[in-house]
Symmetry: C2
Amino acid sequence: MITNKLRAAALKSTFQREKILEYISSRKEHPTVDKIYKHMLKICPTISKTTVYNNVKSLDKAGLIKAVKFSGKGEAIYDGNPSVHYHFVCNKCGTIFDLDLDCKNIIKKEIDGHLVENVCAYFSGVCKECKKDL
Amino acid sequence: MITNKLRAAALKSTFQREKILEYISSRKEHPTVDKIYKHMLKICPTISKTTVYNNVKSLDKAGLIKAVKFSGKGEAIYDGNPSVHYHFVCNKCGTIFDLDLDCKNIIKKEIDGHLVENVCAYFSGVCKECKKDL
DNA sequence: TTTGATGCAAACGGTTTGCACTTAT
DNA sequence: ATAAGTGCAAACCGTTTGCATCAAA
């Protein structure tokens, strides 16, 4: 449950924070701050973008979500799945898919003598759906 | 030779463009626009940042270098090696290493039915050198 | 001669900061 | 009571754009 997750992360439970976490976690959407803000406006018309920024930062720090910046766009996207995984970005429709490739075994391993702590990776191309239109 | 590379890419050969390409290509530095600009000032005091931006864009489009945006920082870095490869970023000293992992076989393959055209990936952690200080 | 490059100033967009007010604990 | 969250306005910073000038082909 959302409230428990926040408590476990030692974060105060506010309406805004709960709904933001719920929104990011519930869908596979990988929303931007602007998307989150527009969604939140519907259920909390007084919310400010600053609050959205504040919360994605605290949620990311707490490890409940994961902020990812993709090449090309300046905007960050927020992933409800904080565990390490690869992404696939469609160059036509822009959809971001989670990939179930095995990259867990990379963490805490060594590559060329460097200690690997995290992996941030994506593949891009044309997604399954868009391939039909080619 | 730099001039030939530009000619082959159908790009006009200017002093600024040649030196920018030379700087990015010659070193393993993965410089930012600001780094390139500061270097260029030494050999071309009248250069503007706009020119650096113009050139990294045209060189990237022509495939002579590769622009990469890493998570966390807003700044892009420019890679003199335009072929697809993985990176390793040290969280302590910030150095970006090229990794010689085999990711060429991923290109033009399919994952989950999606057509993969490019890979943008990095591992982060503590590099070989910084590990000594831990 | 024509097409593209240079570089200035101003705008842009996502994000951060300072701050007074409010709320959860 | 106190530590943290909210939300406004303004700043910030990397990047882009418009435009007049200049140089490569």
